[in-house]
Amino acid sequence: MCTSVINKKGDTRLISEVENTAIAVNGLVKSFGAHRVLGKIDLKVRRGEFLTLVGPSGCGKSTLLRLIAGLETASEGDISIAGRNVTKAPPKQRDVAMVFQNYALYPHLTVAQNMSVPLRMRRLGRLQRLPLIGSLMPQASEKLASIKTEVEAAATSLAIEHLLARKPAQLSGGQRQRVALGRAIVRKPQVFLLDEPLSNLDAQLRVHMRSELVQLHRRLGVTLIYVTHDQAEAMTMSSRIAVMFAGQILQIGTPDAVYDNPDHLKVAQFISNPGLNTLPLALILGGPRGRQIDDSLGTIAASGSDLTVGFRPEACALAASAAVADLSGRVLLCERFGAEAFIHVLLHGAPAPVIVRVEPSQASVLLPEEVVHIQIDPSKIFVFGQDGTRVRNQRRAAA
């Protein structure tokens, strides 16, 4: 009796998880010849989620997207979309739409024709698709009319209805982008795949399209996988981000979780603006407040001598005197951005300057080569092992 209840509960939980998973990737491997570009990827994308694959170029994020789209075939592992195994299915049977970096619009077709291609291919019969005589086939005219209505509705929702008669060559980059989006949304697919869609736009338009994409995603409520190398896009748009390096997903989580609690040195470095400060742990422990930091790091310091600490520019501040500082060094450079400023401080014995975020008023009084003292917030220090993995505070984790 008791066990059956547990089973029942377990089953319902299992079923709801399956229903909530739009895409499941299991043990996916992709090799080109002897070169392995993706190694054992496991990924579950939730229904309606905006998941961003982010990483430096060559990390395999586009390959993963193309595998999901069906443009590449997996060497090992499998992919299912909406509970259906599609590992061997051709792209058109996967019910996914993709927006390419260069938009890949059909140059010889008008905007309206571009957007109607996916609908024509799906709804019209083989004979009805033929040029010239196709529209004379029985029932073709009703189908064509409904396609026209839907294309116009999609165009209206993207504010491109005035461009329907134009050809791609007559459009600006931003307009082409919208047409590519329109061609993707018009047929209401299970999943949207976007491959660096904003990277060909100028900076201002990119910021604008960012918010528009987020709104579009919210309005359609569709599952969306977004590939970018731009951490700002990843942080601002996504429900979750998956950070990729060298064919592996190093960490997956909400933007805040990945930012505040990185699992790996590379993740912390990549999701960081203007950059992550890294120093040997010994250098910080040797400072006047070394004992304090040692205490707050707990068991970590004892676990090895080759540890690296990482902290973001906003995790440190200028200290009033050497007595209360963790580090001291000379000012190399001041970068003022109006609302904030970054000081690059060259430390004695450190390979790269430490970047400190300060108020612009603080930066304006500093001179180059001036000696400054830096205090680090111990709670915002990440410690990494030699292989780059995060070393966590055992005591704190236990508490």
Binding site: A104, Y106, H108
Partner: protein, 301 residues
């Protein structure tokens, strides 16, 4: 525009010897010497009764042209040439497109096939004509062997006036396919991969759908160029006629260029041959202008 001229003047002043006329001169001289002046001489000769080797010539006005219009041999050569072009152009383009599409999908031995198809372009027809005469021979030829083994009547390819032009057209297709294959392969290669992929995701991922949605429209510029070059080249059919049939049998393969050749170098009627040349030139130029106009309207998306 004025800024453009001003900047030219400025650079002209700085590099005095590199003025505009100096820069244009070499091309102009070559164009004049090898193209425009000879054409003008031919046009002038076409209004005379000049015969090669004769000491004098008389101006005969449009006499040569009126002779041409009433010359039934000339009109037959026009009809023969038209038939040849009408077979070679579509035949060669269709074959070349088919071969290019098949080769594009191949991974192995692509280079071998490309070279194999291109060989007839580099081979001299004068030498290859012997081989063709063997293949098309009425009694022991390979072609008739094939036809009879399929249960058809043998054909006297080069001896039957109804077949001779068609036979030459088949040779013409064989000769021009290789070059067109290379052009179509280049055209196929210039179709962005993403557009093919977008078509695959949109549902046009194979066969006729992909061809009609993406491949054929995007090959437009290539197809136009191939059509133009094949048409102009096949209009100039001469070698195979001279080597294989000499215009026969019964003048059934007398083509325009062969008529010009006979008039100019056999009968030495240079004036009349010039008139034929001018007419031929007019047709070629018209064809090119027509194609250019179509390309401006249709090909550039």
């Amino acid at each position: 525009m004025s800024a453009y001229i001003a900047s030219n003047n400025r650079s002209g002043a700085r590099y005095g010897f590199l003025s505009l006329p100096t820069l244009v001169m070499p091309a102009t001289i070559l164009l004049l010497a090898f193209s425009l002046v000879p054409s003008a001489v031919v046009i002038l000769l076409s209004f005379t009764n000049y015969e090669l080797g004769m000491p004098g010539l008389h101006f005969v006005g449009l006499g040569n042209y009126s002779d041409m219009v009433s010359d039934h041999i000339f009109w037959q050569s026009v009809r023969n040439t038209a038939l040849y072009v009408a077979i070679v152009v579509p035949g060669s383009i269709f074959m070349a497109l088919l071969v290019a599409l098949l080769l594009e999908r191949r991974r192995f031995m692509t280079r071998f096939y490309k070279v194999a198809y291109f060989l007839p372009v580099t081979a001299t027809l004068v030498a290859m004509a012997t081989v063709w005469e063997f293949i098309l021979h009425p009694t022991f030829g390979l072609a008739n062997h094939l036809l009879t083994s399929l249960g058809w009547e043998p054909v006297r390819f080069l001896a039957d006036p109804n077949w001779a032009m068609v036979s030459l057209a088949i040779i013409g297709i064989w000769q021009s396919v290789g070059f067109n294959v290379i052009l179509f392969l280049a055209g196929l290669g210039s179709i962005p991969r993403e557009i093919d992929e977008a078509a695959a995701l949109d549902g046009a991922d194979g066969g006729l759908d992909r061809f009609l949605t993406v491949t054929w429209p995007l090959l437009g510029p290539t197809t136009l160029f191939v059509t133009l070059t094949t048409a102009v080249n096949s209009l100039r059919i001469f070698e195979s006629v001279t080597v294989i049939t000499q215009g026969g049998p019964d003048k059934s393969t007398g083509v325009i260029l062969y008529s010009i050749y006979l008039e100019a170098f056999r009968y030495f009627r240079t004036g009349y041959a010039s008139a034929l040349t001018v007419a031929f030139l007019a047709v070629t130029v018209t064809l090119i202008l027509l194609q250019m106009r179509v390309s401006d309207r249709k090909v550039h998306y």
